[in-house]
């Protein structure tokens, strides 16, 4: 508790000041702790106190394609692909969606094919 108040007062006057590399990790841990206070923990929350000593709830991400056993990632399936494309038209990275590497590889090539035939946009929204 004392740690938390100390860090919050320290960060308030100079956000983004000098950050020693060693102090980075407890720093982020504290910040996510505060985030946890603002929001109630998610219902599916697991992994409290992970190996890195981080104390925030994070839902375990799973690969949609592995779970639902979708093997065919086709460029024609715009509805499926659109779930993995951001508003800006960018491919959403694996670390955000939780898709496993082999599936992300197929997914990205399918999205690129779909872009080529004007099913998905290169940039901006497909209205």
């Amino acid at each position: 508790m004392a740690d938390e108040t100390r860090t919050s007062t320290a960060t308030a006057p100079s956000p983004g000041g000098d950050r020693p590399s060693g102090g980075d990790r407890p720093f982020s841990g504290d910040r996510s702790d505060r985030g946890g206070e603002r929001r109630p923990p998610r219902p599916g929350g697991r992994g409290e106190g992970g190996p890195g000593g981080r104390k925030f709830f994070r839902r375990k991400k799973v690969c949609k394609f592995c779970v639902e056993k979708i093997e065919a990632i086709n460029y024609k399936d715009v509805r499926l692909l659109a779930q993995f494309v951001a508003e800006s038209g960018k491919i959403v990275p694996r670390r955000l969606t939780g898709v496993c590497t082999p599936h992300q590889r197929r997914l990205s090539s399918a999205i690129k094919q779909a872009r080529n035939i004007a099913l998905l946009p290169f940039a901006g929204r497909a209205s």
């Binding site: 065919a72 094919q113 080529n116 035939i117 004007a118 497909a126 209205s127």
Partner: protein, 136 residues
């Protein structure tokens, strides 16, 4: 050495149906003369394009499934390029992907069969004990 390809192309939205038919039939004759085979023709209809192509906002999508050699695909792409109403096209080879999918499906089916008929080979008592629990 025949391979299966998907040839998707977009024609301009104001192209009449008869002309589309004409275009498809000319492509089909080109396929058959060079020893290939037109497996399927699918008209996906008019769709909104994700971005404007040659100042068109819409386009009529047509999908052909063609079996043939690489030279045939080269010829088909050349034809599409010189055909005025075709605004975009994409060729994708699908036989290897199909093979992969078939393999996965076969494995899954085999696994399902094993789990569906556990009484077929209940040699060990442990397996026999497991079987009703699995079906229940």
């Amino acid at each position: 050495m025949n391979r299966t390809y998907e040839l998707m192309f977009i024609v301009r939205p104001d192209m009449p149906e008869e002309e589309q038919d004409k275009l498809i039939s000319t492509l089909e004759t080109a396929v058959t003369t060079s020893g290939g085979q037109m497996k399927n023709v699918e008209r996906m209809g008019k769709r909104h394009l994700a971005y404007s192509v040659r100042r068109f906002r819409d386009g009529i999508y047509i999908l052909l499934t063609v079996e043939g050699s690489g030279g045939l695909i080269h010829e088909l792409e050349r034809r599409l390029r010189v055909t005025e109403p075709v605004i975009k096209f994409l060729t994708v080879r699908i036989d290897e992907e199909q093979k992969r999918l078939d393999k996965i499906k076969a494995i899954r089916d085999a696994r399902r069969k094993v789990s569906a008929t556990p009484a077929a080979a209940p040699t060990a008592a442990e397996q026999a004990g497991e079987a009703p629990a699995a079906t229940a």
